[in-house]
Structures are given as C-alpha cells and as structure tokens.
C-alpha cells in the first residue's frame, strides 16, 4: 500500500452544475482529500455532445483532482417517470429505464477503470453503486459505498423496490460503508440489515463562502422573513412548512415565507399555498445558488428545515453560518452536530409555528442560539471529513 492511495471516485454531479447537496458534498470531500495528497480520479455521468461517444474531460475548479465526464443521461434527483419522458424511445444507445441506465453507466466505468491504476473505488449514492461494484469486482479492488440519502429518505417508505434493491445489494457488497450521519447509519442498519461495525459516520463539512452579499433585507422593511431552502420533493416536507406558515400568519401577519428551490412538487406546493389562502405571504423563488442564495440567508430572520427525512442537512449549516437561527426537523443528521437549534417533529405544525413565532418575536434569544450553533458547527470542516475518510481508505487497503 502506498502512503498516498489512488482513489477512483464516482459521483453524480459537481458544482456549479449541481442541483442539490450531493454535488456540494462530493466537491468539498474530493478537494480536501486532494489536499491530503490523495490521488483522486473523479468520474461522473454526463450527457455529452453527439461527437463525443464515451468520455470527456470535465470543466471544474478542483485543484489536484482529475475529473472525467462519462457519457450517460443519468442525472441526480431524476425520477423514473421523468427519465422515460425525456429519453426518446426507442433509443440507440440509451437504456430503456433509469435502473438499466445505472448498469450501463457501470459498464462504461469498467471500461474507464481499465485505463488507470487505482487502489480503491469510492462511490456516492445509488446511481453510481452498480458502477462501484462492477469496477471493484472486475479490477479486484476494495469498494467503499458512501450513503448521502437512502430510498427510504426520498420516498418516506413508499419506495421504488428496484432502487432499494440496488442500495441493499451494493451496501452488502461494499467493503465499508460511509454514512453522513448516525441518523442515516440507523436507517441503513434497520432497513438493509447492515452490521453497524461495517459503517463509519463521516459528517459533511461546510465550505466557507466569500460572496459579497448585498442583503435583500432592505426590501422587506416591514416583514419577518422565514426561509426554507431545498428541493421541492416529498422528502423535504414543504407541505408542513406551509401549514405551519398558515398558523404563524394568524398570529403575526407581517411574516413572509420564502421557499427557495425547485422540484417535482413545485406545482403542488403553489396550489397548497393558494388553498391555504396564504399566497400573498409565500414567495417561491425557484432554484438559487451562490450570491442569490447567500443574499437570502443573510436576509432571513429564521430558517426552517422541515424535512420528513434528512440524512444530513447542509442547508442548515449554511443558514447558521449566515447568522440565522434554525429550526430543524428531528429526522435529520445535522441535529447530531448542532446542539443549539430548535427541534421539531416534521408533522408537528403547531410546534413548528410556535417556534417560528418565538424566533421572530424574540430575536435576541434566537440570535443567542445562533451564536452557540456557530460554535457547534466549527468542527464541521471538510478537512476533518477528509481525514476521517483517508483513515478509512488506509484501513481498507491495508
């Protein structure tokens, strides 16, 4: 074993072309591992132009990491229905459904893996698990599977058995499993019957931002801003946020609720707000990133993460770093590390509303809590996450 292991890392996406937290996490982890002299060859699926049949270099800002785009229509957070709508059938080259596509990606990764040396393959989440397993088995190298979210988180139990099957089999085939929280470790143990000792918890870090933020605050001189950030999917619990909003508005009418994100429930949430009669007090911003998102964080009075099931919850750390008090779902990973946050069951809209009202009426108290939360989040760095991951690499390769 060499001191600086060569890692074949498989992910879904990287910023700025990301649609969620997974890309951010992969980016932070890969960058910090590279700083620890780990050789990382990062491969991700990407629909490439017609004249590039197999793979291409991928434009990125990671220093010391080689990133390759593998031709594939796999995209993160895609649903099976969405896949079959957007991929023309009959296809030449593309598989018939999302699951097969994950296995086609695996074939491409095997080809790709034959062209380079690596000591270990490290894959992030289910779409790349078949590829991780295949590369590991054909090349006889160990496989680490990292779980950022399970099918149970995404669907609340109404799972797609094919995806759950991929997760279960891959996690059993992996030499080691990393989860992003104890919360997720527990889900993996409970639902996939994995032995706890096979699982290492590595909490995500937080990449400090240095955006020059022009705060939006001055545009809302009379309103309290309550912020949600996340994809508009079942998992994120926006419907509970809206129901809590209705209750808050009965008590504090000059509160404005901002829903930042896009997703398959966009239409449903718009209509829910309308049915609740609170449309005037709910702003849907669509998907935001970087400066715009930072501006929102800096304008907010309180941040709510009402997730039905949140393996980690990077957005909560971003909010805390921007000085915003947070209210977190008990079903989240981030609550393990942030001790100074208001916690609520995602379904308890009465309590959620009460906590929101409390935060906006007693801002001093809320901001005291935020300062303590900032202390809690200090150890959460990508350096720490990378060190822990590297230790696991050495353990597996040895």
């Amino acid at each position: 074993m060499s001191q600086t292991p060569d890692i074949l890392m498989l992910g879904w996406e990287l910023p700025p072309a990301n649609s969620g937290g997974l890309g951010v996490a992969c980016h932070g982890l890969a960058q910090s591992l590279a700083r620890l002299s780990t050789h990382i060859s990062f491969a991700l699926p990407r629909q490439l132009p017609a004249h590039i049949p197999f793979m291409d270099i991928f434009d990125h800002d990671l220093i010391g990491v080689q990133v390759t785009a593998i031709n594939s229509p796999l995209r993160p957070y895609r649903t099976a229905a969405d896949y079959s709508n957007s991929v023309p059938i009959p296809t030449q080259g593309w598989a018939q459904d999302l699951y097969q596509e994950a296995f086609r990606f695996a074939e491409a990764i095997v080809r790709f893996s034959q062209t380079r040396h690596f000591d270990l393959v490290h894959a992030h989440d289910w779409m790349t698990f078949p590829a991780g397993v295949a590369a590991s088995q054909t090349q006889g190298k160990p496989f680490i599977a990292q779980v950022h979210a399970t099918e149970y988180d995404r669907t609340g139990g109404y799972l797609d058995s094919r995806i759950a099957d991929i997760e279960a089999r891959s996690l059993h085939q992996a030499d080691k499993v990393i989860t992003v929280s104890d919360y997720t470790k527990q889900i993996v143990c409970d639902h996939y019957q994995l032995p706890a000792e096979k699982i290492t918890v590595v909490h995500n870090g937080l990449t400090p931002t240095d955006f020059q933020v022009e705060t939006l605050r001055r545009f809302f001189p009379h309103d309290h801003l309550v912020l949600f950030v996340g994809r508009l999917t079942f998992q994120k619990g926006v419907e509970y946020f809206l129901q809590a909003a209705k209750r808050v508005l009965e008590a504090v009418p000059n509160t404005l609720f901002i829903v930042a994100g896009s997703g398959d429930l966009y239409q449903r949430h718009l209509l829910e707000a309308a049915y609740l009669g609170i449309s005037q007090r709910v702003i849907f911003t669509g998907f935001l990133r970087n400066q715009e998102l930072s501006a929102l964080y800096h304008a907010a009075d309180v941040f709510v993460m009402p997730s039905v099931s949140e393996p980690y919850g990077l957005v909560a750390l971003e909010a805390i770093a921007a000085g915003v008090p947070v209210i977190l779902s008990k079903n989240s990973g981030v609550k393990e590390v942030i001790r100074h946050a208001q916690l609520v069951d995602f379904w308890d809209i009465h309590k959620m509303a009460a906590l929101i009202v409390q935060s906006i009426l007693f801002p001093n108290q809320a901001h005291q809590l935020n300062r303590l939360a900032q202390f809690d989040s200090q150890p959460l760095t990508w350096e720490a996450a990378a060190a822990k991951t590297l230790a696991l690499y050495h353990q597996v390769i040895a």
Partner: protein, 424 residues
C-alpha cells in the same frame, strides 16, 4: 336580408417579465422594469402582420364601398404602446374614425376584470377610456363592450346607469334557449339598453376555424360566407360578427388568405339583395327589441365554457386577483399617480389568463398566448411584482398595515417596542 355588424377588438397586454426577488432593486427604482422587454418586439410584429395591413384594407374598403361600416374597440393599454412605438397605427385609426363610418365602443382602459371586483375601479377605467376615445377619435361612445365580453344582468344595470345605449355580450346558448342571437334583445328591466349578442358560430368560423383543414366548411371564401349569411334571411335581423382584430394576420396568418377573404367580403355580401353593413349603434336602433334575455351568471366569449374560468378558474388565479384588489384602497389612499397607474396596469386580464391551468383544446389557446413557460411561473412572477408594488407603497411607513396589531395581539405590547434592530 340581415344586417352584418362587424366588430373588432384591439388589444395587446403589457406582459410582465420573469420576475424574481432579485429584480426588486431595479423595479423599486423604476416600476416599468417589471414589464417584459418582449413587449415592444411583439407589438412591432403584430403591427406589421395585422394592424397596419388590416387598417389599410379597411380604409380601402370604406373608400370603395360607400355603405361599408364597421365598429372597433381598443384598449388603453394598446393605445399607449402604439403611441410610443407604432404611432402610424393610431393615425390610421384616426382616419378610419374620421370617415364617419367607423364606430368606436368603450371598454375598460386596462382591459381588466374590474367589473368583477370593484365597481369603483370599473367606473374609473371606463371613464379613462371614454376620455381617450374622445381625445383620439372625437367620438362619444354610445355602446359598451366589457373585457372579453364578460357580462351579466348586474353589469347591464351598471352600464345602463352610466348612460350607454348598447352593450355587447356572447350569444351563450344556455341562456338563449331556443332563441337566436340574430335579433336585438334587452336585459331584464332595462328597455333603454340594447343587447347585441355575438353569433359565435359565424364569428368563430372566421376567428378560429378559418384555416382548419379538418373543418367541413374549409376552405371558406367570401362568396361561400356571404351565402351562409344570406341563408339566414327571414330568421335574422342582425348577424353580429365579433372578434379580435388580431384574427387578421396574427391569429390567422396572411398566407391563410384571411386578408383576401375580408377584402372580398363586402362585394360578396352586397351581391345578395338588400344586404348591408351597420355599426353596433346603428344596428341597435334599426330593429325593434325582440325579447328580454335574462343572464344572471357571469358569461364571456372565452373558451368552451363561455364563463370567467379562463381568468379565475383555479386557486392561483383567485389568490392573485384577491391580492391585487386588496391593494386598491391603499394605492389610491397613497395618491401617487405612478403607483396608481402601475396597479391599474396589473389589472389587465391577460396576467390572469397566463395562470390558467385548463387542459385540452382551450389549453392550447392559452399556451399560444402566454409569454411564460408555465401558468405556475406566470403566477409566481405576478406575485413577486405585487411584492415590489407593496414595497413601494409602504416604503415611507415605519410599519405596514399588516403589522399594526400583530405584536399587540400576541404580547399585548404596542408594536414599536418590539421592533428588532435593523443591524440583524
């Protein structure tokens, strides 16, 4: 020998741009920033394809046929845009008005749904329109058409009180029963107000079906159409052909032969003995009132339903319009003319039309007319623009009206004691 009443409606909305929270800073500096840059190129296109050639054709027809007459109404929203960017169209319309054979009707200045929400605002916008017609065309309109032919008994009463002698409405079958739209009617209890009902079959044969190859009537020529009109002889006194002016060249493109059709229509109509064209007001005086038509429900000329669900059918539209009209009193109380005008511009019905989520045949039409990707986007942009308006409205106040009693409600302490520091 029915009289043919040709009435065209001219309107182009002032569309909103895809408006996010991050447009607040530019828009609070200049409210006109809320409007889409595409408005001007679209106007330019419609002027070139429809207004300019259509006006010229009508001027020619008036010159060539001494008895050819027609009626128009035009929204203030369009007049303002034309004056700014295509002023020759206004000049053409003035020439038409000066011919003495073109009647201009009144409507709401901003092509709004004000009749459904606020009698006060309705009156304001009709007055504005009246003043505009007087100044531009030197006419005092005696006839009224509400936005999208939105109509019911109550509106008829309001319009009669405002002194109009004629009102237009859709010939909705569920209220006509066995009766034909081809006569003059009156609303219940209002003998002084003539009701002209659109013959939607013959109107839509031109407006919607003209280029439809699957339609049994295709292709429709001026002679064929004049024959259909003549066939009504004995069972009709007027045939009310009401449609968007944009039918000519914009909804039906030039290559469908729509201009040829209209160019030949007068000659074809006059070929049948005793046929003639009348303006809206002439027609309402030329024939006796045949019956009373009772329309308690709100009807319109839109979609298959002929009601107002195209603008107010889903909760998004209902919320958006409620939010808009909730700002009416505060905006007028503030008294800032710019804010009032901006608010009025937001009353334009098209903003709500874009939020329509109806499917099937009607959805196609909505989609064609919408500048937005989806009704949901249209709704989101509109609500964000309302936030911009509210921001301007309450800029100089230390508390918003919403805020006034909220703290007291919860804490029993007056609001200003609990204002948080702006440093946060």
């Amino acid at each position: 020998m029915p009289a043919v009443v040709l009435y065209f409606h001219l309107h182009q909305p002032l569309r909103l741009k895809p408006f996010s929270l991050f447009d607040l800073s530019t828009t609070t500096a200049d409210l006109n920033e809320a409007f889409a840059p595409v408005n001007q190129p679209i106007l330019h296109k419609v002027a070139a394809k429809c207004y300019r050639p259509a006006n010229q054709m009508m001027l020619d027809l008036i010159r060539d046929f001494p008895d050819f007459k027609l009626s128009y109404s035009i929204s203030g929203t369009l007049v303002e845009q034309l004056s700014a960017y295509e002023p020759d169209i206004i000049f053409q319309l003035q020439q038409l008005a000066a011919s003495g054979r073109v009647e201009f009707l009144d409507e709401t200045y901003y092509h709004s749904l004000a009749s459904l929400f606020s009698p006060k605002e309705f009156f304001r916008q009709v007055s504005l329109h009246r003043q505009m017609i007087r100044e531009l065309f030197n006419q005092e309109p005696k006839a009224f058409r509400n936005t999208e032919l939105i109509y019911n008994n109550q509106l008829a009463e309001t319009v009669a009180q405002m002194g109009y002698q004629t009102i237009l409405a859709e010939g909705v079958e569920r209220y006509l029963w066995w009766r034909s739209p081809n006569f003059i009617y009156q609303p219940p209890g209002l003998p002084q107000l003539k009701l002209l009902l659109k013959n939607y079959r013959l109107s839509d044969d031109i407006a919607f079906r003209f280029s439809n190859r699957d339609w049994s009537g295709f292709p429709v020529t001026a002679d064929k159409y004049a024959h259909w009109l003549s066939a009504l002889n004995g069972s009709a006194q007027v045939v009310n052909l009401f449609m968007d002016y944009e039918t000519l060249g914009e909804h039906q493109w030039d290559d469908t032969g729509i201009f040829e059709f209209f160019r030949h229509l007068p000659a074809a109509v006059y070929r049948h003995p005793d046929n003639r064209f009348l303006t809206v007001s002439e027609a309402s005086e030329a024939f006796p009132i045949m019956d009373t038509v009772d329309i308690p429900e709100i009807t319109s000329w839109a979609d298959l339903e002929r009601d107002v669900t195209a603008w107010l059918g889903n909760p998004l539209q209902q919320q958006a319009s409620a939010a808009l009209y909730a700002l009416e009193s505060p905006v007028y109380q503030a008294g800032d003319q710019n804010l009032i005008k901006f608010w009025q511009q937001l009353t334009t019905s098209d903003h709500f039309y874009y939020m329509c989520t109806k499917w099937f045949a009607d959805g196609d039409v909505h989609k064609y007319f919408s500048p937005n990707n989806s009704p949901l986007d249209a709704y989101t942009y509109f609500m964000n623009v309302l936030h911009a308006l509210r921001l301007k409205l309450y800029a100089n106040q230390t508390t918003s009206p919403l805020e006034a009693n909220s703290y007291q409600l919860i804490t029993g302490i007056p609001a200003h004691d609990y204002r948080y520091s702006s440093a946060l």
